[in-house]
């Protein structure tokens, strides 16, 4: 299918158009409709007629108008210049749409993803006469100051290099010519890939997910970590902080490339990313965050069908950088809007609905999408590893997790960060509930945490040596145990009042309050607290649990809880996370607490 063929429109209902007159139309083929050349994709093919979903508003389209099958599927343009860009759901650069149609997006605009006129400096890594196969890196382009773009042979091309040279090229000019059996093929700074098909990697190249993706968010890294190449879901009702959480991860997680898909969400939120990211610095590279970010914005008032495509476009771009050997994190906000787009289109096709009106194939689509995450050995040489981590927000109706999209997402993702409305109402953010969330990767990651933990322990300096718990999993387990116990005690306290409880239980309440306030609660917009290094997380948790052990010892020997509550270091503990002095500050605090507790020991003759 290469030629374009013309048929005619027979029926229009919303974004769905029925056409006829193209005998060899294919599923997934791109069509153009009417005089405005509105773009759509074929989603059903019959003997006489076919159905397409259009990515644009169909107002004014008439039966009898032209419908053209362009002989091509919906593809992503992959190449140099993706980073720092903002695109719509089908990959049109919003910058250039603005130049063409002004502040409002008009219909029928044709704009490419990558600018065609810009030249990039290409440095070859392979030589003339060498054999190059799919995925081989023929050269590089410095796309951003800290990111080298590896120019790869497209997955369907191979041959002997007959021409390659250093120089400045646009994305359309060939940088290398490959020849095989007298047929020529070209490597350019851009390749195309159909968005609904996963990009290939080395055969058998899926790697175990045992390397943590550090996010700088304490509740995630310490309690519910995600590995590079893993999948996570963040379900939560409105106002529980999904978007802020995703923004936090996009800002601070240790990936080299971020693909942020705003799928059916607010325009102002995308604008916020565009305003903030060029100014915020990546803590690792000290470069603006925007330089590692690709934004895909299909806001809630943009056409529904493009919303459905935007998720696949994002993951395809992620896979492309994965294939270059980078760790990519993709955020999708929100996958529920994507599922709703599926539902809407399915409804217009008059398919038999399953639960909640969603099509019966919803779980398949969810699974296919999340399975595109992973850590892999890339196709071609030199050998390299890359990963795509997918983090999807889910917006369950009424905040009730018992609904199709949440249920199916949980089946196919490894980490569950449950956002809790009560926590959000009392402004405890991130509102990730510590008793409802889980990470299936935790056991596997603990091994690798244990290794890095000893590094952290070394870095945390002399002071902590020999004082640290034997391993991180114990520290983590202990904190979770206290949080769990305190939830039970709280439910009793709600009936009897806290004062009716024995002191050891009240200490558990105090300690869990401290863990929540000092550790779990994290200020997204605080200059120090927004990103918390792993070393500091470890030291903070250690300090909090050390305090508990000592206080518990005192309480057992008869010191009243009110006396312990009165020590002036408690408010300081809660504020330690904002302290600029980092680990040193924690050290000082630890010493102060010890002195204060020593005083209590003297008071009660417990020395």
């Amino acid at each position: 299918m290469v030629e374009s063929r013309t048929g005619e429109v027979r029926w229009i209902s919303g974004s769905v158009v029925v056409g006829s007159g193209i005998r060899d139309i294919e599923m997934g083929e791109i069509v153009e409709v009417g005089k405005d050349r509105l773009v759509g994709e074929v989603i059903r093919v019959g003997a006489e007629e076919f159905t397409a979903q259009l990515y644009e508003n169909t107002t004014g389209v008439k039966p009898g108008e032209e419908i053209i099958g362009v002989g091509k599927r919906l593809v992503a343009e992959l190449g140099v210049g993706l980073l720092g860009n903002i695109l719509d759901g089908v990959g049109r650069a919003l910058d250039r749409i603005k130049l063409q149609t002004g502040p409002f997006i008009a219909r029928g605009v044709r704009v490419n993803t990558l600018p065609r006129e810009k030249k990039w400096h290409f440095k070859p890594l392979m030589k003339k006469g060498e054999d190059a196969g799919p995925g081989d890196i023929v050269g590089t382009v410095q796309e951003m100051p800290v990111l080298v773009h590896k120019v790869m042979v497209p997955p369907n091309l191979s041959g002997r290099i007959t021409q390659i040279s250093e120089g400045d090229f646009t994305v359309e000019e060939p940088v290398a010519t490959l020849e095989r059996d007298g047929k020529k093929g070209y490597v350019r700074l851009m390749q195309e890939w159909p968005i609904r098909i996963p990009r290939p990697f080395a055969p058998g190249g899926r790697l175990p997910l045992d390397e943590p993706l550090v996010t700088g968010q304490r509740v995630i890294d310490t309690f519910f970590p995600i590995p590079k190449g893993g999948t996570a879901s963040i379900p939560g009702g409105f106002g529980t902080g999904k978007t802020v959480m995703l923004h936090q991860l996009a800002k601070w997680c240790a990936a080299q490339v971020i693909v942020y898909v705003g799928c059916g969400e607010r325009g102002n939120e995308m604008c916020e990313v565009l305003t903030d990211f060029p100014e915020l610095m990546d803590p690792r590279t000290k470069r603006p965050l925007m330089e590692r970010t690709i934004l895909i914005a299909n806001t809630s008032n943009m056409p529904v069908a493009a919303r459905e495509a935007s998720i696949y476009l994002g993951v395809t771009m992620g896979e492309y950088y994965r294939d270059q050997g980078y760790d990519v994190a993709m955020m999708a906000d929100s996958t529920s809007r994507w599922a709703e787009a599926l539902r809407e289109i399915s409804g217009r096709l008059e398919e038999m609905p399953a639960e909640g009106g969603y099509p019966a194939y919803l779980p398949d689509r969810v699974a296919e999408f999340y399975e595109r995450a992973g850590r892999v050995r890339a196709l071609g040489s030199p050998e390299r590893q890359g990963s795509v981590t997918i983090i999807g927000a889910v917006s369950p109706p009424g905040g009730d997790f018992n609904e199709p999209v949440t249920i199916h997402t949980l089946r196919f993702t490894g980490v569950f960060w449950a956002l809790d409305r009560d926590l959000a109402y009392s402004r405890h953010f991130p509102a990730i509930h510590w008793l409802k969330s889980y990470s299936l990767y935790v056991d596997r990651l603990l091994t690798s945490w244990a290794q890095s933990y000893s590094q952290y322990a070394d870095r945390i300096a002399e002071y902590w040596k020999g004082r640290l718990e034997t391993d991180f999993s114990q520290l983590r387990g202990k904190a979770l145990k206290i949080l769990g116990e305190s939830a039970e005690i709280e439910s009793i306290a709600r009936i009897m009042g806290e004062r009716a409880l024995p002191d050891d239980q009240r200490l558990i309440l105090l300690e869990s309050e401290l863990i929540k306030e000092a550790f779990l609660r994290q200020f997204a917009y605080h200059e120090v607290d927004a990103f918390c290094e792993m070393e500091k997380q470890v030291a903070m948790l250690q300090l909090l649990l050390e305090f508990y052990d000592k206080a518990s010892h005192l309480v057992q020997r008869g010191v009243p809880i009110e006396r312990i509550k009165s020590i002036p270091q408690i408010p300081k503990l809660e504020r330690a996370k904002e302290d600029r002095s980092g680990i040193q500050g924690l050290q000082r605090l630890s010493e102060e607490i010890e002195n204060e507790l020593a005083k209590i020991r003297q008071e009660y003759n417990l020395v």
Binding site: T59, E340, G398, R494, R499, I570
Partner: protein, 469 residues
């Protein structure tokens, strides 16, 4: 309606195939576009507007506005050749229209060569400016804890019988941007409101002198329900014109979105679509978004468009599809609470389930006051603990509370009576609001204020305090 007919591109057809509720099937038509506007003249002499919902070769499904009673299959259908457009000029200010933009104030219709499609086009996210101009509403609960900014869409989640109309009238009376003299232009879109409610707003606008910078579009409870689908879009098209062409700052009030969504359900049912929750169509979210997202500030254009939709939650249920989906689209919500209203609190804003997503960048040093963010955060924390203490005291009695809990309980009580409560004509400055907040926070010991930076505590914590234990 004459003006509507004059726009006809000449295509006229006689005879309907079937009339089913507000849907009409028609045969033997050619060259009809999707979403095109039509007028239908029935033998009873009445003219109705309609819109093409589906179209195929030689046949179309038309949704009619203006009531189907009296329609016959022997009707004349004229196709206008375009979607619904309204004429716009600066003459629309000070005018009152019905739900399909026909003047009902006795003055002549608007005549203008500028015509805009009421569906509008989505704003390119790249062309938006992130809203960050604080609007002082003079209402402490909003200014202090749910700050509204220019270009935001912040709905009021209310219930039948709560004073949302009084609150919105107070906001429209008092709203101003700090340091600017310019007053807001108001666009008021009534969807299914009672006559007395609509009259209340008109009287309020007239009394405060806002009427001449207002556009009022009324689709009242006894007006044809189906026209309600147009009303908010007409209002927003007018508002976009006033904001981005005339360069004014516009506050759009949409009341009541629940009535709007119910008509959407009615239509969906008539079309026999697969329903989603509670019979509402699966595209309710996208449809609401096509209304709510028409707010903001645009790079390179003057003016701004701020939206305050009102919706009544059926049965007070925030999880009902209408408030639920709205909450996912809007930039926060102001939640009115029946229990608080019963206790005599006006405005009965429960701040805990309320939220303003754009607050953070609109407040702080140089905008409101440096301590604003921390204070709001602390108020949330303390009030939420106070409410927990109140729940507990209902079980164990106040006597069973710990000292801490008693303090928080006292804080919560005074927070409701002194901070949230205020007069309907009381216009508090943001400084006054924050000062009241500090007064109340001084009920708590300094060290309990863990959400406020120490430097601000040193500067603002009342030294003498009002600690009446």
């Amino acid at each position: 309606m004459e003006s509507m007919l004059s726009k006809t591109h000449g295509l006229v057809s006689r005879g309907l195939q079937e009339i089913r509720g507000s849907l009409v099937m028609i045969d033997n038509v050619e060259n009809v576009g999707y979403d095109e506007l039509v007028t239908i003249r029935a033998p009873d002499g009445a003219e109705r507007m309609g819109r093409v919902l589906e179209v195929g070769r030689g046949k179309a499904v038309i949704q009619i506005f203006g009531g189907e009673m009296g329609m016959q299959t022997d009707s004349i259908v004229s196709f206008t050749g375009s979607a619904f457009k309204i004429p716009l000029s600066d003459e629309i200010l000070g005018r009152i229209f019905n739900g399909i933009f026909e003047p009902i104030d006795g003055s002549p219709p608007i005549v203008s060569s500028e015509q805009e499609d009421i569906n509008g086009n989505p704003i390119n996210p790249r062309a938006r400016i992130y809203p960050n101009n604080f609007i002082q509403t003079g209402v402490s609960a909003i200014d202090g804890m749910l700050s509204l900014v220019r270009g935001q869409k912040l709905p009021i989640f209310s219930e039948s019988g709560l004073p949302h109309n009084r609150l919105i009238a107070q906001i429209s009376r008092q709203a101003s941007v700090l340091g600017e003299k310019e007053e807001f232009a108001l666009v008021f879109s009534a969807m299914g409101l009672r006559h007395d409610e609509a009259q209340y707003f008109i009287d309020e606008f007239r009394r405060s002198g806002a009427l001449e910078r207002s556009v009022i579009i009324l689709n009242l409870a006894d007006d044809p329900a189906i026209e309600r689908l147009f009303t908010p879009r007409i209002a927003l098209t007018a508002a976009e014109y006033i904001a981005f062409k005339l360069g004014m700052h516009v506050l759009v009030i949409l009341s009541d979105m629940t009535n709007y969504a119910e008509v959407l359900r009615e239509l969906s049912a008539a079309r026999e679509e697969v329903p989603s929750r509670k019979g509402y169509p699966g595209y309710l979210y996208s449809d609401l978004a096509s209304i709510y997202e028409r707010a903001g500030i645009i790079e390179g254009l003057p003016g701004s468009l701020t939206q305050m939709p009102i919706l009544t939650m059926p049965g007070g249920d925030i999880q009902h599809p209408i408030p639920d989906l709205s909450g996912y689209i809007t930039e926060g919500q102001i939640f009115l609470d029946r229990e608080m209203y019963m206790k005599g609190v006006y405005p009965p804003i429960n701040v805990l389930p309320s939220l303003s997503r754009l607050m953070r960048k609109g407040i702080g040093k140089g905008k409101t006051r440096e301590d604003h963010g921390d204070v709001a955060d602390q108020l949330y924390g303390a009030y939420s603990r106070g409410r927990q203490a109140r729940d507990l005291s209902r079980i164990v009695g106040e006597i069973g509370l710990s000292e801490d809990e008693k303090l928080y309980l006292k804080f919560a009580e005074r927070f409701e009576t002194q901070f949230i409560s205020q007069g309907e004509y009381e216009n508090r400055t943001i400084e006054r609001t924050l000062d009241i907040a500090w007064e109340l926070l001084s009920i708590l010991p300094e060290k309990a204020l863990t959400r406020i930076r120490e430097e601000y505590i040193a500067k603002y914590y009342p030294k003498t305090g009002v600690k009446q234990r």
